[in-house]
Structure formats: C-alpha cells, structure tokens
C-alpha cells in the first residue's frame, strides 16, 4: 500500500480565515466550528483534469465573442501557473469573469446603474501551455459600488478560478490592478494578515506583454500549492 504525499499547508497569514468581520457577508456564512484536520488520501490528491480541447480559441479573447468590439480599454492579461517549487503547471484550466468597462456584470443580481455592453459577456477560459503560460485579451473592468459599508467600492478586479492537478490545489482568487486607489479600503483584498501575500494579487504592468498600437499588458502569475516529498513505500 503506497501512502500519498500531502500538499503543503499555507505559510501563516497568507490565506484568509473563513470569518473576516470587515467583510459583512462572512458573518452569517463563515463556518464557526474548528475545521477537522485530516490526512491526505487518494480522494484529495486526485481531481478533475481538463485538456486543452475543452476550450475554444476565442474563449480567451473576451473582446471577440460578439459581432462588435466591447467598449473600454483593451488589455492583455498573461502569466504563468506554477507550483510553490516554481515548476510550471501545464494543462491547467483557468476560468475568468469580470465586470464590463462601466463596472457592470452581465448578471441579473447586479443592479448597479451603469450600462451593460451588448458586445461584452465578461467570461473567458484558457488552458495553460507546456510552460504553464496563459493569455487573455479583455477590457479593463470598471470599479463598482457594493453595500458592504458606507460608500463602499470594489477596486477593479478579474475573478480567476483554477483546478490544478488535484482536488487539493483548487483555487478561486481575484486579480487587481497596480495603483488602484481603492485597494487600501477593500475588505476582500485586505483579508490576509500578510501584506506581501495580498500584494501578490496585484498584477504588474509589463512591457513584454504590452502590444504596440494595440493594448497594455499586465502580468499575473498564479501559484498553486506545492507538495511534500513523497513518503516511502510501506
């Protein structure tokens, strides 16, 4: 019987707790009892894998999904998906979703008085290549108000969802933009004790990704959990 190697626990302060009182929605939804620590089994070190065939090419270009081009500033968001040992993670599915340039989501719950854009759905998918790279073309999302506290505004952000190689590596996160004045006031962004950890959610303006006469580029690398050394056979 072969024992499975565990995935590493996060460094202290780099991941949010479930309860984060400044984020009001967490008060009634965050589990309150201690989580039960369990060893890794085959159930957690396996997980759904999706090959490149699951996404169509235009799924990674959010500006080409309709008959016309969406309004707003076209941008390129690109980076690598790596594990904590800097190994690239190929064939990893990324799903993104975001507001349009005016700060409005194409969602029935979003009642913000900002216009929808018939040429922008705001969702995309990509699968990483052999070096763990991905690339999305989209428009810069707008900031928008929410009701967490008085005069609350979400900084511009893009939601990211990744599976990685196992159930254990599943990650949902958000990417922010450099220099956004709303970042210090956002309870979701400021959910970690570790300031460096949260600042890694801020993408970096990048000349290599930027295309002349076309679009600014932002680099956003995503790190999925690394693994302990494989235990010996019993």
């Amino acid at each position: 019987m072969k024992r499975v190697a565990a995935y590493r626990a996060p460094s202290p302060g780099t991941q949010p707790d479930h309860l984060h009182p400044p984020y009001v929605s967490s008060l009634k939804r965050a589990p309150t009892k201690p989580q039960v620590a369990i060893p890794y089994t085959l159930s957690e070190v396996t997980g759904p894998l999706f090959g490149a065939e699951i996404v169509v090419p235009r799924a990674s270009d959010l500006t080409q999904q309709h008959s016309g081009e969406p309004l707003g500033e076209r941008i390129i968001v690109s980076g690598r998906v790596l594990d904590e040992d800097s190994r690239p993670l190929p064939n990893t599915l990324l799903e993104i979703w975001q507001a349009n340039a005016a700060g409005r989501y194409l969602h029935e719950v979003d009642q913000h008085k900002a216009p929808l854009d018939l040429n922008f759905t705001g969702c995309g998918q990509a699968v990483t290549d052999a070096e763990g790279r991905y690339r999305f073309v989209t428009i810069r999302p707008g900031e928008y108000p929410w009701r967490n506290h008085y005069n609350a505004w979400r900084p511009a952000h893009i939601h990211f969802s990744l599976f990685g190689p196992a159930f254990a590596t599943r990650l949902v996160t958000q990417m922010y933009f450099p220099g956004d004045p709303l970042l210090p006031f956002d309870p979701i962004f400021n959910c970690t004790a570790d300031e460096k950890a949260r600042n890694r959610l801020v993408s970096v303006f990048d000349w290599e990704i930027t295309m002349p006469e076309h679009a600014l580029g932002y680099k956003f690398d995503i790190i999925l959990r690394g693994r302990e050394a494989t235990p010996m056979e019993e």
Partner: protein
C-alpha cells in the same frame, strides 16, 4: 519551496457568468455501471436562511473505486462515461440537486479501504476560501471503520452522511449548514 501559494478570494455574487459553462448536475454518461443516486440538499446560513448564490463541486471515484486521474494507479477499470466531476449552483431556495453513482471504496491512510464517499468543495459570496467536506452514504457498513469519519467527534458525524429522502427511495438528502448546532463538518486541507 521558493514561492507561496496565491491567496484565495471569494467567488463573489456573480460567478455564474464565469462558471456556469462547466456546470454538471448529471455525472453519469452512457454505459456507466453502479447504483444511480440523486443527491439533493440545501445550503443554509447562520440564520437558517437559504444561500441562493453558492456553488457545489463534486469529485468522486467510479463504481469500481477508481479515480479518473493518473495518480490513481490501482488495478481497477476506468469507464469512459464517468469522469467523476460535478458542479451545481444553488437555486433561489438554496437547493442543489445532482445525479451520480455510488462510488466504490478507495484506499485510506491506514491501508484499509475508505467507506464510499464524495469529496465536496462549496464556494459562495461571503466565504473567502473554499469550504471542503464529504458526503458519505446511509446504510453503509464501511462507515463505522472509516478512517476520516473516525477523526470527527461522534455527535457531528451525521452531518457528513446523506439520509434517505422521505417518500423518494432513489433520492438522498444532504445539507450544507454553515453555522449553528447542526453545522456541517468542514475539513482542513490547508485551503
């Protein structure tokens, strides 16, 4: 270790835009063996109010106890019609429902087989990192010796075991209770 894992963030209220394309509420394709089950439940918050904006993800082995993943090296058959992945959004009443097969047992950390189970992630607005839990099956003799169930205090184990739905023999009921005396057991996997 040279890098640190990216910080988790909430899926927020608008995840449907980005995640709905990969929703799967029927995990069973053509020619798949095993006992069909429909599992239905509700996600409720600390006030007992339904959570209409949660998303439940399922990962499980097939009826032989084999995962469709290269790290499962057991000498057991895969079935082309069964991947083992499900994604179901809750409706306005906080209800989710999916159809699958009861998985076979898979190896556990003590070298013995685990009782048949599904591993589950639940994401929602208000929760900054995913919650992780398991669904076990009723009337399953292996439950008593299951390594993971036995790590849970006895009074709370029932939150992990689906119940037969009243008046509907093909359906199991399993709820996600986020807070309170009946709070579902959530596991610490680091994330």
């Amino acid at each position: 270790m040279s890098l640190q894992a990216t910080t988790s963030q909430t899926v927020g209220p608008y995840f449907k835009i980005g995640l709905e394309w990969l929703n799967r509420d029927n995990l069973v394709g053509k020619g798949v063996s095993g006992e069909r089950v429909t599992i239905q439940g509700r996600v409720v918050d600390g006030d007992g109010a339904p959570v209409p904006d949660a998303i439940v993800e399922i990962w499980q082995a097939n009826a032989h106890g084999k995962y469709d993943h290269p790290e499962d090296t057991q000498d057991k058959p895969l079935e082309p019609g069964f991947k083992g992945y499900g994604r179901i959004a809750t409706n306005a009443d906080g209800v989710f429902r999916f159809t699958t097969i009861k998985p076979g047992p898979v190896p556990g950390p003590d070298g013995k087989e685990q009782a048949p189970h599904l591993v589950v992630s639940v994401f929602m607005r208000g929760v900054l990192r995913r919650t992780v839990t398991r669904i076990y099956f009723p009337d399953e003799p292996r439950n008593a010796a299951d390594f993971i169930l036995n790590l849970v205090e006895p009074a709370r184990r029932s939150t992990l075991i689906a119940k037969k739905a009243a008046g509907d023999p093909g359906t199991l009921e399993w709820n996600v209770v986020l807070q309170g005396p009946d709070e579902t057991v959530f596991f610490d996997l680091g994330l």
